[in-house]
């Protein structure tokens, strides 16, 4: 069974997806038991960009599994302001 996600992008990430529409998010289909790392791979964005993936108010680790229906947000790290 595949995992279908609508991913919301923040920071400068939207610039990399010209057809991105924020109200709908970026649609991504991943294999079952896919991890955060798999998600970033599918989107073609490198972790070296200091990316932060969150769902349900929690920051996820690279090997955390993503479930269908999770509201996934991807940010870039900021150290303060």
């Amino acid at each position: 069974m595949a995992v279908e996600l609508s991913v919301r992008l923040y920071g400068t990430l939207r610039e990399r997806f010209p057809s991105y529409c924020h109200s709908e998010g970026q649609r991504v289909v991943l294999p079952d038991n896919a991890t955060v790392e798999d998600l970033l791979g599918a989107l073609g964005i490198a972790r070296s960009d200091v990316l932060v993936v969150s769902t349900n108010g929690r920051i996820l680790k690279a090997d955390d599994t993503i479930r269908s229906g999770d509201g996934v947000n991807i940010f870039q790290s900021i150290l303060g302001g």
Partner: protein, 574 residues
């Protein structure tokens, strides 16, 4: 040696230049203001009396060609917290003072009640106190316009608005950006009230001074400066995020973590936060023809500033920042950037801290004075500060004054100063910093948000928070001595950037400092600050958050602040 102190005595209207004493060598910015206040200001003095001193100190590197070194530190005993205080601002004044070889301007004594003066330093370094009665009651935008028309456009202005003249505890000192607008603030701690109490309406410094303190090793400095600039450009935050969104880029991740104190810290996520995110702000500004990636400070290569404009493309304010968006939007429940931008302008113009004022408004709303989300009511409330009405004065004295007036114990402050845009129940380390920072609750002194976003630490658990806060507080106390902007400093804490930054400092001073000397400097500054506070009567019992953070769970995580008092007390126990 060009380096000098200027002592400006407001009682006697006398200005004396003196050489920098040996014990202050290698100090600048916060290190200088704090160590000097600890040495010279009686800790139990009335912050609004003649014994207090208001010190303006550019950073050690301000006025050199090194990029992003335009922070000016302003220090005094705070009328808001009763503690020692340093608040720093960007703009152009630090570089100008650096170009004149001025290490610090120390304002002492007090003008007779009702008398206002302005201090002017020309590019030859000659300082004068001039009568400023004509500018009484003037707001900062009009005042700055007057100063620049009187002395010329190539002048930087530090000034107070009506709030400073009323000596309100949230009064800021506003300073000009590269466009000459008074939109940069040393906002925290009520330093505008100290300036008002001294009778100093404005401090005007001419640009283009040519008597900067010499760089000891110019060639080594040039090479290090190039490497510093390269590191800043290469870092993802300073090189890419900040020019795109500025600090407002934090709205999204902090809400996503459930740590954005909203509705006077009743919730960790603001409904409709997407409407006031950095992404939404940048889109609005660009659509209307305003400016993102704007240059606010002298020698800036990051461009985190912006110019927010209205639907007609007319200037509203600069720069709309994360903390203001939070205080005026999150805490008040006003999810509308046009209203928040207007409030930012009003605060700059009246001369009050946007953070303390937004939180004071939130406490009033939480007490039922008006409804959360009523933007028009919030604007009216803030306008009352300028008019000097009874309620305006209560509001301008900050969240504690408002809480007392309404008998509302839900006042999110530490030592009288409002918390910042990170709820301590969902970012426990920020709570440690709020509790222990010698300045009261603070957003720059030891902000742990990066540790959470980079998954180095669990924000909801007590473990590791004290160490994270301590290390950051030490590092920031050291960086605050240099004039280097925080946005740039993130690229200079380690690796090639860190090495280059240290080389630049050594080349400037002719010193042989190693990496271990940076925390040593930070600890020296923090020790002086804590010593002052102790002598002022503060004890460990003051290093606590308000009760409701320990009792009232914050949605969505429904956690409370759980770092123990014993752990808090070992944070800065050097």
């Amino acid at each position: 040696m060009a380096v000098k102190f200027l002592r400006v005595n407001m009682t006697e209207k006398r200005i004396v230049a003196e050489d920098v004493p040996e014990e202050y060598r290698f100090l600048g910015g916060r290190g200088l203001t704090s160590i000097m206040i600890n040495a010279e200001v009686p800790p139990k003095c009335d912050p609004l009396g003649p014994e207090n001193k208001l010190i303006f100190a550019p950073g050690l590197l301000s006025g050199t060609p090194l990029v992003n070194t335009s922070r000016i530190s302003i220090g005094a005993k705070s009328p808001l917290t009763g503690t020692i205080k340093e608040s720093n601002a960007g703009g152009t004044a630090a570089a100008d003072l650096g170009h004149l070889g001025i290490t610090a301007v120390i304002v002492e004594g007090q003008a007779p009640e009702g008398e206002l003066c302005l201090l002017r330093i020309n590019k030859q370094g000659e300082a004068q106190l001039l009568a400023a009665q004509d500018y009484k009651g003037m707001k900062t935008y009009e005042l700055t316009k007057n100063m620049r028309s009187r002395f010329g456009e190539k002048n930087s202005v530090l000034c107070i608005g009506p709030a400073g003249e009323y000596q309100l505890r949230s009064a800021s000192i506003q300073t000009t950006d590269v466009d000459g607008r008074p939109c940069r603030a040393a906002g925290r701690g009520g330093l505008g009230a100290v300036m008002g109490a001294k009778g100093l309406k404005a401090f005007v410094v001419e640009q283009g001074g040519k008597s900067a303190d010499a760089i000891v090793n110019p060639e080594a400095f040039k090479e290090a400066a190039r490497a510093v600039a390269k590191a800043i450009k290469a870092h993802p935050m300073s090189g890419s995020m900040m020019p795109a969104l500025g600090t407002a880029g934090l709205v999204a991740p902090v809400n996503a973590m459930g740590a954005f104190p909203s509705y006077n810290a009743r919730k960790g996520i603001l409904d409709d936060w997407e409407k006031i995110s950095g992404e939404a702000m940048a889109e609005i500004i660009q659509k209307r023809g305003g400016k993102t990636a704007h240059v606010g400070c002298a020698q800036c290569i990051i461009h985190c500033s912006n110019e927010f404009v209205d639907e007609q493309g007319k200037y509203v304010t600069s720069s709309l920042e994360y903390e203001t968006i939070w205080a005026m939007g999150g805490m008040t429940g006003v999810a509308d950037l046009d209203t928040i931008a207007r409030l930012d302008f009003l605060c700059d113009d009246i001369g009050v801290d946007t953070m303390n004022t937004g939180v004071a408004v939130a406490v009033a709303l939480d007490s039922g004075y008006r409804q959360f989300g009523d933007g028009a009511a919030v604007i009216e409330m803030v306008e009352e500060i300028a008019r000097g009405t009874a309620f305006g004065r209560i509001l301008g004295n900050g969240p504690v004054a408002v809480g007392k007036y309404f008998n509302n114990p839900r006042v999110p402050v530490v030592k009288g100063q409002s918390i910042a845009a990170y709820d301590p129940r969902a970012m426990q380390g920020n709570g440690v910093t709020y509790a222990t920072c010698p300045m009261g609750a603070d957003h720059t002194a030891g902000n742990v948000v990066g540790e959470y976003l980079e998954q180095k630490l669990d924000p909801l658990k007590a473990e590791g928070q004290v160490e994270a806060s301590r290390n950051l507080q030490i590092g920031v106390a050291a960086v605050d001595c240099t004039g280097m902007c925080f946005m740039a400093a993130v690229a200079l804490v380690s690796g090639e950037g860190g090495e280059a930054f240290l080389k630049a400092i050594n080349a400037k001073l002719g010193s042989q400092l190693g990496p271990e000397d940076i925390p040593t400097l930070g600890i020296r500054v923090l020790k002086a600050e804590r010593k002052f506070n102790k002598r002022a009567g503060f004890t460990e019992a003051d290093d606590r958050l308000p009760q409701f953070f320990y009792q009232e769970p914050l949605p969505p995580h429904n956690t409370i602040f759980s770092v123990s008092d014993a752990d808090i007390d070992r944070t800065l126990a050097f």
